[in-house]
């Protein structure tokens, strides 16, 4: 789908817990294909202190109802305002932006690893991978149980594993402390990962050690989201690349990560 800037109506706002919401946005006209991993850059209107848009992964897409949803974790004023967007209000959204994850050509066994709010793009990815009959394991890590959202949804697409830093749900520790990373990683043909950068680097290191293909979705601060401000660059084997247009999804071999 070609990117555009649109005023989208908020048709639902589901509060998941104290700091997570999912907002559903109505798109005028027929939605065209959106790749899992693509994102939307949303204006925080009528804000005195927030000047730039805020980027969010596209969480789900409904091509019948022509809606998209966005998972929002409140971390600052911008996310707080958007997480409380009123139903029937409108948000200015530039979407879809970025490249998205590479999908398997034929059936594969894949591992999806999400950390904290980094799970946001994995829902759409899991839906599409599941539709294409891939075998999916999903590992979600968070600080605490309260930060694990929509587990009842993820479990519909495959085997679900969790870790929490405080041990309140699943294995205690980081995602890479999970037994999946001990010896069995080469059972997967591909790993998809989105979360905090230290987590993604730890996952990438394990993937490289086991020679498993691995893609990560990066999040850098950006001004535009469509490749003109050149602020969100990351170092790649081909020099500085904008994560908004050349990413946000990169194969770990493209990145100059010391792992």
């Amino acid at each position: 789908m070609r990117k555009s800037v649109q005023n989208l109506k908020v048709i639902a706002n589901h509060r998941l817990n104290d700091n997570h919401s999912i907002i559903h946005l109505q798109v005028d006209g027929q939605l065209e294909n959106i790749n899992p991993g693509q994102f939307a850059n949303i204006l925080v209107d009528q804000s005195q202190s927030i000047f730039l848009r805020r980027p969010f992964s596209i969480h789900t897409v409904d091509y019948q109802k022509n809606t998209i949803s966005i998972l929002i974790k409140e971390v600052g004023e911008g996310t707080r305002t958007l997480a409380h967007a009123q139903v029937d209000s409108y948000l200015s959204v530039i979407f879809p932006l970025g490249n998205g994850f590479t999908l398997p050509v034929s059936k594969e066994k894949v591992l999806l690893v999400g950390g904290g709010c980094g799970v946001a793009p994995l829902m759409l990815l899991a839906q599409i991978l599941s539709k294409d009959s891939n075998e999916i394991d999903i590992l979600i890590g968070a600080r605490s149980e309260i930060d694990l959202v929509e587990l009842d949804q993820y479990i519909l697409f495959g085997k679900l594993f969790t870790t929490t830093e405080d041990g309140s749900h699943g294995i205690m520790g980081f995602v890479t402390d999970h037994p999946l990373f001990d010896t069995k990683l080469d059972q997967y043909e591909r790993i998809y990962c989105c979360g905090p950068e230290p987590m993604m680097k730890a996952v990438a290191a394990k993937a490289r050690l086991s020679s498993v293909k691995c893609e990560v979705s990066l999040e850098n601060t950006m001004a535009c989201g469509f490749g003109v401000c050149l602020c969100c660059v990351t170092e790649t084997t081909q020099g500085h690349k904008c994560i908004c247009t050349d990413g946000p999804v990169f194969n770990i071999n493209q990145l100059k990560w010391q792992i």
Binding site: K3, L52, S92, A223, L230
Partner: protein
């Protein structure tokens, strides 16, 4: 519909709204959003003779009513521009200017010579005001002798319209403007970004990898307006106003202060369609105040 055409040196722009260098890529990035041929002109991003990787991440900090950047002129170099980018730009029916930057006078000259050969490029905007490069850039634009030296050197080799982009990071911008005008500039554009800084109190570290960066957005508009007004009073060549323009009213204010055209910068990041809205808004203003042409309000500030 009012007459929106305006003249910069010997170039008639279809309307007075251009896009500022470094905020509009090469224009092609906006193809999905609108037909950029509707613009008065575009200034493509800062081009240097050699490719530049730019500065390390983080390069951006959001600030009150604005942002800091320290991109550092990331670009593929002038030869790459001429062979790869330029052929694509020829499809646009708008005036295309190339922002030319360098670390040495020789760099500026070599870059301008390459651009000279490109028929569809209306002119260059000489960037003697980039605050985000270690050598050259703003250093040329903050003293009269060095500004005059680089402008004179490029003037000897560049035959088409030469706009010179001024730095606000000076004690007296009028003196710099006079030096630049006296050295052969055909027009002046101002202001480039203001040198600023952001600190993260929690980490006790600077936000930008370069510590300091260039401030843009509506936060700088009053300074830009003041400088445009001062320079327009003192110059015989056209002035292009830049600095925090977010809507048509902002643009009108720059015309009243003496700008013959404006460049929209940071606003492009927030609303990719903002330039079209500004063009329409200027027309509405002119109609509402019964002016037949935008030229009727240039420098017409009531004092």
């Amino acid at each position: 519909m009012a007459d929106l055409t305006t003249v910069i040196h010997n170039i008639k722009l279809k309307n007075p709204v251009l896009t500022a260098s470094g905020t509009f890529g090469y224009g092609t990035e906006f193809d999905d959003f609108f037909d950029i041929s509707r613009l008065g002109g575009i200034i493509v991003k800062g081009t240097t003779i050699h490719p530049r990787q730019g500065n390390s991440y983080p390069r951006m900090a959001e600030t009150a009513s604005g942002m800091l950047n320290s991109v550092g002129l990331q670009n593929g170099g002038a030869p790459n521009f001429a062979s790869v980018i330029y052929p694509i730009l020829t499809k646009y029916d708008t005036s295309v200017f190339v922002n030319v930057s360098g670390s040495t006078i020789e760099d500026y000259v070599a870059c301008a010579e390459i651009i000279n050969d490109l028929d569809h490029i209306a002119g260059i905007e000489l960037n003697i005001s980039c605050p985000n490069v270690k050598e050259g850039g703003m250093a040329f634009g903050t003293s009269c002798p060095s500004a005059a030296a680089v402008v004179s050197a490029v003037r000897k080799v560049y035959y088409k319209t030469m706009i010179v982009k001024l730095s606000p990071n000076v004690t007296d911008i009028v003196e710099i403007a006079k030096a630049v005008e006296g050295s052969g500039a055909d027009a002046l554009s101002l202001i480039n970004t203001l040198l600023g800084m952001a600190i993260n109190a929690e980490t006790r570290k600077p936000v930008l990898s370069t510590i300091t960066g260039g401030l843009s957005g509506p936060a700088v508009k009053p300074i830009a307006l003041r400088m445009v007004w001062q320079v327009a009073q003192a110059s015989k060549i056209p002035v292009i106003g830049i600095g925090g323009i977010m809507n048509a009213t902002d643009a009108i204010e720059f015309f009243l202060a003496g700008a013959s055209a404006v460049q929209v910068g940071t606003a492009n990041f927030i609303d990719p369609l903002i330039t079209l809205k500004i063009i329409d808004g200027i027309d509405s203003y002119l109609n509402r105040h019964k002016f037949s042409s935008v030229k009727d309000i240039i420098g017409c500030l009531h004092l």
